[in-house]
Amino acid sequence: MQLSRQIQAWLLLLPALCLLVAFTHYPVVKTVARSFFGFGVQWEDAASLDNYRYLLEDEVLGQVLYNSFMYAAITVPVSIVLAIAMALWVNSKMRYKGVLRTAYFTPTILPMISVANIWLFFYSPEIGLLNKLLALVGHSGYNWLGDPSLSLYSLMAMTIWKEAGFFMIFYLAALQTIDTNLYHAAAIENASKWTVFRRITFPLLMPTTLFVLVNALLNAFKLVDHLFILTKGGPNNSSNLLLYYIFENAFSFFDTAYAAVLTVVLLVILVVLALLQFGVIEKRVHYR
């Protein structure tokens, strides 16, 4: 009896397990194996650390890692702050807030590739919208994507524009679950708006913030579609991100082995970030 229940449980788990193993666990194991046994697209008999040794010699990698961290460190907090601000605004009592909510949410429903193609023309120095606006005030404009000191920030601006509206939806939902009695109580105490936000709204939004933070961080490392259109990582790798660099190695250079090594690096980074988030920050989150 006991045994048949066990079997039944495993059978129920089996379909999901098959998919997980086939599409998640097996590729991870194979990637790690390839990072030791691979040479270009071929396999070698003996394991070696050659592929990992190249990590140290690789001059581009340092730049790519720095870019990726900067990209995450700026896009994630800015998107979150903007998302909260937008959510607070469209949650208040005002006319046409439906229109405003839609407007904020629109960037999210557009595919990244189309968005990038539109922004490519925004950013274009001579014919682009941004420089034409600057020209109105007599400014000569910038080479947004062609100047290595600007290209990464140009990518960030587009990402924030696209992401913030998405996160706003989560905050909006969370705001509407907050008990209005708390605000009435605060009003009786004559608390300032800032105190209300700091003591009531923000703490009660913390579970949402954790969720958004995890998502935003993952996206910062996972989402590189726009690089294919906007900069291809250039000029001179100034806007290259880790996942795009992995793609370049695997499919432009056909160095699958080194791409596997870089993937292991990416995995390690993501695992460390996940541990930090759930280990440290979760303790501070207030769940009801």
């Binding site: 599409f23 490519l120 000569s140 080479n143 062609g146 290595p148 250039g234 001179n236 370049e248 499919f251």
Partner: protein
């Protein structure tokens, strides 16, 4: 997410089941890239339809696969998945890598009759440079180009220049560029003299500048590069100077994808671009424009560019014979003439220019022959073993210099050093 995976699997399975039984005819799968935009897919589909009408026993599945890089990725992915393409149009410079992967066969092993052998020898020799390795032909030219100089005759007139005399030397390009650069009252440039694109394929444009100094970038075996040769350094300095010293070109990198639009909106009087853009420019320019050979340094020059046909190893004899038929059809003088007229890519053989349709077109629209005329000054496009990585070294060096991050010597020395490290294995 799991649901998505399930769906994908089910759909993939269903497609396989559908595709399997229809094997009465010889079925060919072919990938091809489009690098310049425009309605080129329609033209290819038209040619394929004509071929299928003429050869009812062959079904061709021609798949548009993005840019050159995407096309190669898709063709090789199909190869590994066990459902390979039999032939594809891919970058002419992929040849060494495709050979290293043991993916392609030379045409010499497939042609049998005298007629077929004669066909293999019928193309412009300059177009074969990127396709022949160790005396065997692996790539047959199809959508081939050189870089040409497009210039806006109206703006030439406005600047008091002779619209029939575009710059023919580097000095003239700088001088005329200065005359063509217009600033508004705030001192901001509103019209540039010239633009040479430096994203996507910077090494290709650079190949023109170095050839104009009489220097090639690599050897025919593709295992040695000359990135830090003195003349290469000079060439990069000149490119940089056009922006920083002469001020006729914007500083920083110039986007390949939006350059044509810049030219069409008259933001630049001159652009260097693939001849594959010619027909699109002709259709969309609302001004009088001309096309000329690139100006020369100590010599004239441009690399050839574009895509060749390759035959994959993994194919049956029937499939291979059918593939050869298709390649022969698509590169025949009649089709090459039509293709050239419709796109601006060049007719790949001298015979193509004798086809009345193209001959008359060239007569009425002389720019259509510039790319061909420039062939006598052309050199091969940068092509080495591990081409992607080596190309990127040079691309990064060029971009770092153009954006003012390092000097030409530094950047090119470093690129050469790293290229040596990669290529020493193949010597």
């Amino acid at each position: 997410m799991w649901m998505n995976k399930v769906k994908t699997t089910v759909i993939a399975g269903a497609l396989c089941a559908l595709a399997a039984p229809a094997m009465a005819n010889t079925e060919l799968t072919m990938f091809y890239p489009v690098a310049v935009g425009g309605a080129l897919t329609k033209i290819v589909n038209g040619i394929i339809a004509d071929f299928e009408t003429a050869n009812p026993d062959i079904d061709v599945n021609a798949i548009y696969a993005g840019n050159y890089n995407d096309a190669r990725v898709k063709a090789l992915a199909a190869l590994q998945s066990g459902d390979p393409a039999q032939l594809s149009v891919m970058f002419s410079i992929d040849v060494h890598e495709l050979m290293d992967l043991d993916a392609i066969v030379p045409f010499d092993d497939v042609v049998t009759t005298d007629e077929e052998k004669a066909w293999l020898g019928s193309f412009y020799p300059a177009l074969m440079e990127n396709g022949v390795v160790d005396g065997k032909t692996y790539g047959v030219p199809f959508q081939r180009s050189t870089i040409v100089m497009y210039y806006n005759k109206d703006l030439f007139r406005e600047a008091g220049l002779d619209p029939e005399k575009p710059p023919t030397t580097w000095d003239e390009l700088a001088e005329m560029g200065a005359a063509l650069t217009k600033k508004n009252s705030d001192g901001n440039v509103e019209q540039w003299g010239a633009m040479i694109p430096s994203t996507a394929y910077p090494y290709w444009m650079f190949g023109a500048l170095t050839k104009q100094q009489g220097q090639v970038l690599m050897n025919q075996d593709g295992n040695e590069t000359y990135f830090n040769a003195p003349k290469v350094v000079d060439a990069l300095n000149y490119w940089k100077d056009l922006g920083s010293k002469h001020g006729v070109m914007p500083e920083g990198t110039i986007e390949w994808g939006t350059l044509r639009q810049n030219f069409l909106e008259q933001k630049t009087a001159i652009m260097w671009h693939s001849t594959g853009n010619l027909t699109t420019v002709k259709k969309n320019a609302e001004f009088d424009f001309g096309v000329a050979m690139l100006p020369g340094g100590s010599a004239l020059g441009s690399p050839t560019g574009g895509g060749n046909f390759y035959l994959f190893k993994d194919a049956t004899d029937e499939e291979r014979a059918a593939s050869l038929k298709l390649v022969q059809f698509m590169t025949s003088p009649e089709q090459a003439a039509l293709w050239s007229k419709e796109t601006g890519y060049m007719g790949v053989s001298p015979a193509a220019y004798e086809v009345p349709e193209l001959a008359e077109y060239v007569e009425s629209f002389p720019p259509a022959a510039i790319a061909r005329d420039q062939l006598q000054h052309a050199t091969a496009e940068l092509s080495t073993h591990q081409a992607g990585r080596v190309r990127k070294l040079l691309d990064d060096a060029i971009q770092s210099v153009l954006s003012g991050q390092s000097t030409s010597e530094e950047a090119l020395n470093s690129a050469q050093k790293q290229a040596d490290r990669i290529l020493s294995r193949y010597r």
